[in-house]
Symmetry: C2
Subunit: 154 residues, 2 copies
């Protein structure tokens, strides 16, 4: 996978969380994912289809972090992952991917987004099954950790 593909997703997540939740996440170093899976409690997932490539993206949050994001954005904290939280994670997934799509479109990389799905379940893991390099980026905060994982074929 072209390294130009990665930074727009990183930038877009930082922008979305900063703008919507007034929270600064600290990006860690992007890594080629081997068998170390990101564990989290709620994840937004979306499929990507372009003329030359296809792939998938996920954003995984620890419960405490996503609840703090919700508190900051909406002024309420349900104390657990309910449908309002999964709706929010779906929206964040759409916004982050849409932001990256715009940045990548300016560089000539085009893809269409499918619709987001949200998984909830304590400590689940996600495997991206495209035949391509898988990149995982951790983001830390005092409230917990989030991960973006991206995989594009070719």
């Amino acid at each position: 996978m072209n390294v130009n593909f990665i930074n727009p997703f990183l930038q877009s997540l930082l922008n979305v969380i900063s703008t919507m939740a007034s929270m600064d996440l600290t990006p860690g170093k992007p890594q080629i994912k081997s068998d170390n899976l990101a564990k989290g409690d709620v994840s937004g997932l979306i499929g990507l289809v372009g003329p030359q490539t296809k792939g998938s993206l996920s954003i995984t949050f620890e419960q405490k972090l996503v609840l703090q994001i919700m508190q900051n954005m909406l002024g309420e904290n349900p104390g657990k992952i309910n449908e309002e939280v999964t709706d929010l994670v779906g929206e964040i997934t759409n916004m982050v991917t849409g932001g990256a799509k715009n940045l990548l479109g300016q560089k000539g990389y085009e893809f269409e987004m499918a619709t987001p799905m949200v998984v909830s379940g304590k400590g689940h893991t996600i495997s991206h099954k495209a035949n391509g390099t898988k990149i995982i980026m951790p983001f830390t905060s005092p409230h917990g950790t989030a991960y973006i994982e991206i995989c594009f074929e070719n």
Copy 2:
């Protein structure tokens, strides 16, 4: 969502499991999904993008059922959900969606598939966040239950 969209996915799952694992699943009644979420232990998810619509599909298995499918297909049963099992679930998701894509293409409904993702985690649930009707179809067997969920916009 057009009801013509549903049966090809149902048929395709029955075909794939019958052909590959010599197992007959019993389809239950497709239902419009409200807030009753399918719970399972491993799920394959894939995004769908067409000229007029986009959406998402998931196939969720209980652990005992997916391990029996693996036993029947490959003659081995790891006793837990490991990377071989998630690879298999990714393959099944691709095959089922590809089979339905062929059947739907013959009726003039075209879409492209993104690449599959596989979630593992005891008792997780999936919410499809497209703005459209969500259909859930249960499939039962003596070894446990599987669910297909599909959502298309428009």
